[in-house]
């Protein structure tokens, strides 16, 4: 009993700043390489770390420090956050863990109770958390945004973002911007009407919503006919980027619905397959760029906007680098949305080229028919959601490339809430020569500096470091480190599970660690 007075005294002390994330921390994430504070490492989404303890000379000495196995049978797509020695990661479908990075042991686990019926097209996956203060933010496959206490995993608040029975779910890692949590939705295969939301980080109250399919009377609505917009798709299922100086949030949008039968939704179908630039405070649209107007191949622009300030044609510009699912690489001016460069980076058979404004000149024979066509890249695209990396040291952009075709034929479809809304049949082509690689590109020209060949497919995200290394993995379960300058493989190790996540790096007790999800396990490597 006498301890109680002692406890009360202690409890009245101010909380330590350790283990907390402020907006200022997020703004200066690159100066805090001992932590991994947000999905893409920082607001510019370069996924580059200044850490150099592990480098091209000593990387062959990497050894595993610990592994954290999860029970899930789903793909683990999570990018962990690491704050002051504690790793926060998600486990599919919508669970979270706090793991000590010294020992690999958990501090707590959060298991979300899910309803029997949820709607996800492609696995009940989750890509990670966002953090502000001592709160973690988790999107769930039943379409809730949940705030968890970072010290206990207790639910502090939760809010229903959308109706799961209409086909909405959340798989994206949220993004904290100032005092708001930005979160998007999945559901492009279910005829949702997509949107991007901002919630008050403290209370969970919604601050703004931007619908990615405009309603009657709104700009862009004339790119739809009739009621097609109501089921138009344009989900927002990959984390975007933020430019604090311009106060703009950049976010990629997904495919139009139904996916493949364009006759059911004539028009350009804005703002599907776009990057949208939104005012961070109001959610108002400042500009957009549509990569694939009237898409009939399922080429979501669900890529990470990589923000780089660099010289372009003789003058410093605020660039956005975007290798798209449609096999073309784009450079945009992120102040205005002006197209600066577009160049093919993977095998494709759908576009004769691009006009001066970046609108594709489509080959008629590439449009899906009832009889069917073979399309390059296939419906999974030449890129997909996996994270690129940009190294300011080499000035190169690194990203995985898929050369994988698909056979598609169109079919009729009726909208039924919560049911798949595709308008096609399709199949992979196992006998066709598919291949994959990691590319290093000169951002300003699209010139391929080097290429690291992989087998038939790739789903890894990448991480570059000041140790002149690019880390990534293969679908066959290898984890590797490449030389940023040459692409030479300097180290690899078999992890025995598909890599479908991005690596992160951070410090534990002052020593650099690299972690990656493979199979259902997080593996952590270090030198000593």
């Amino acid at each position: 009993m006498k301890n109680f007075a002692f406890i009360l005294v202690l409890l009245n002390l101010a909380a330590s700043a350790l283990g907390q994330v402020t907006y200022q921390n997020l703004l200066e994430a690159d100066r805090e390489p001992g932590n991994w504070l947000t999905y893409s490492g920082g607001y510019n989404s370069q996924r580059h770390s200044r850490l150099e303890q592990i480098n091209r000379d000593n990387v062959p000495e990497l050894e595993m420090k610990w592994a954290f196995q999860m029970r899930t049978l789903e793909d683990v797509e999570t990018t962990p956050l690491v704050v002051d020695g504690i790793m926060y990661l998600t486990e599919p479908p919508s669970n979270a863990h706090a793991v000590d990075t010294r020992t690999g042991r958990t501090f707590w686990s959060y298991t979300r109770e899910l309803p029997n019926e949820t709607h996800t097209c492609c696995g009940q996956v989750n890509r990670g958390l966002a953090m502000l203060g001592e709160k973690l933010y988790l999107g769930t496959v039943d379409a809730f945004l949940v705030a968890l206490d970072a010290k206990t995993g207790s639910v502090l608040w939760e809010v229903e973002v959308a109706d799961r029975l209409e086909g909405y779910s959340i798989t994206v890692a949220p993004l904290v911007v100032k005092d708001k949590v930005i979160v998007g939705v999945s559901g492009g295969e279910f005829g949702i009407r997509g949107f991007l939301d901002a919630y008050d980080a403290e209370t969970g109250k919604r601050v703004w919503r931007f619908y990615t399919v405009p309603a009657p009377g709104e700009p862009g609505h004339d790119s739809w006919e009739g009621d097609d917009w109501k089921t138009g798709g344009a989900p927002t299922w990959i984390t975007g980027s933020f430019d604090p100086a311009l106060n703009l949030i950049y976010w990629g949008t997904g495919n139009p619905s139904p996916d493949f039968n364009g006759e059911l939704r004539p028009g350009d179908n804005l703002y599907t397959d776009c990057v949208i630039a939104l005012d961070a405070d109001t959610g108002q649209l400042k500009w957009y760029f549509q990569f694939t107007p009237h898409d009939v191949w399922d080429w979501d622009a669900a890529q990470i906007p990589v923000l780089v300030d660099a010289e372009f044609e003789g003058r410093m510009r605020k660039l956005m680098l975007w290798p798209n699912r449609n096999a073309f690489y784009y450079v945009l001016d992120r102040e205005t949305g002006e197209l600066l460069l577009v160049k093919q980076f993977a095998r494709q058979n759908w576009a004769q080229g691009m006009d001066s404004r970046g609108r594709p000149i489509i080959k008629l024979e590439a449009l899906p028919t009832e009889k069917g066509i073979i399309i390059w890249p296939g419906i999974q695209g030449a890129m997909n959601w996996f994270s690129p990396s940009y190294s300011p040291l080499t000035g190169l952009l690194y990203f995985p490339v898929r050369h994988v075709p698909t056979f598609i034929s169109t079919g009729d479809t009726d909208y039924d809430p919560g049911a798949m809304f595709l308008g096609s049949r399709w199949t992979g082509m196992p006998d066709d020569p598919s291949w994959a690689s990691i590319q290093a590109l000169v951002p300003q020209t699209g010139e391929v500096k080097w290429e690291y060949p992989l087998h038939r497919d790739v789903w890894t995200g990448l991480l570059s470091t000041a140790g002149h290394l690019v880390f990534g993995g293969s679908v066959e379960g290898q984890f590797f480190a490449l030389d940023t300058a040459t692409g030479e493989e300097l180290w690899r190790t078999p992890l025995g599970g598909m890599v479908i996540a991005a690596p992160v790096t951070y410090l534990t007790d002052g020593k650099q660690r690299v972690s990656i999800a493979a199979g259902n396990t997080i593996f952590t490597f270090g030198l000593d």
Binding site: I7, R102, W108, C121
Partner: protein, 261 residues
Amino acid sequence: MKMPRRWIALVLVLGGAVSVWAQQREENPYTTPEDVAIGAEIFQRRCVTCHGGDGTGGRGPDLTRGLFRYGSSDVALYRTIRSGISASGMPRLGLPEERVWRLISYVRSLSENPRVTIPGDPERGKQILSSQSDCKRCHLVNGEGGRLGPDLSEIGWMRSPQHLRSSILNPNREVDRGYRSVEAVQKGGQVIRGVPLNEDAYSIQLMDLEENLHSLWKSDLEDLRQEDRSWMPSYQGAFTGSELDDLVAYLYSLRRKKDSP
């Protein structure tokens, strides 16, 4: 669309699930008085430790209300008993199908004549908890409060009224493993006092009394003392009888999620 390659697998899985579901019954086929009697025998052997001999609960929830945290339909109860709820302490019982159904029949019979009475006023209890006691220094309730003690936001689903009352008056009578007192004495002499979060042969993770998280190698410790007592003081005498009734009624009313079928 992200990974349609898995749709084929999904169709196969869903097809499999449908066929499994077709074998699993939607309603309880074992509902005769004999089935209830057999269910009672199973209950006495497997359930009373947590739910009490009469089903009114203990460290496990009261089963006599006819409302269940993880669903009240036959199918939901079947799932709960057969598979367990890993996060809640409810184990997977691993009973054959017909014994699960008979157990459900018995559990349903418990709610025909509810035996639990809650004399207090939850609203007054809420005011007591907010203004007259220091519960929230250590306990979280719906997003507000401390971290050292259990999150009470859904405690009404998990504990019986008598267990709640007992925990307030005599916290040391039954202390959950995660809330026992720990004192880790480091080799330099520094002592970290708190509650354990995780432990293995080589390390221990704990939250100290200032709510800081620690992960300690046992090889770095001079001593590690763990006692089967709580940091929570007894509130015996701190409340009048009716205040205690009100507080228990409020705690018992805390169920964030509604009953679902």
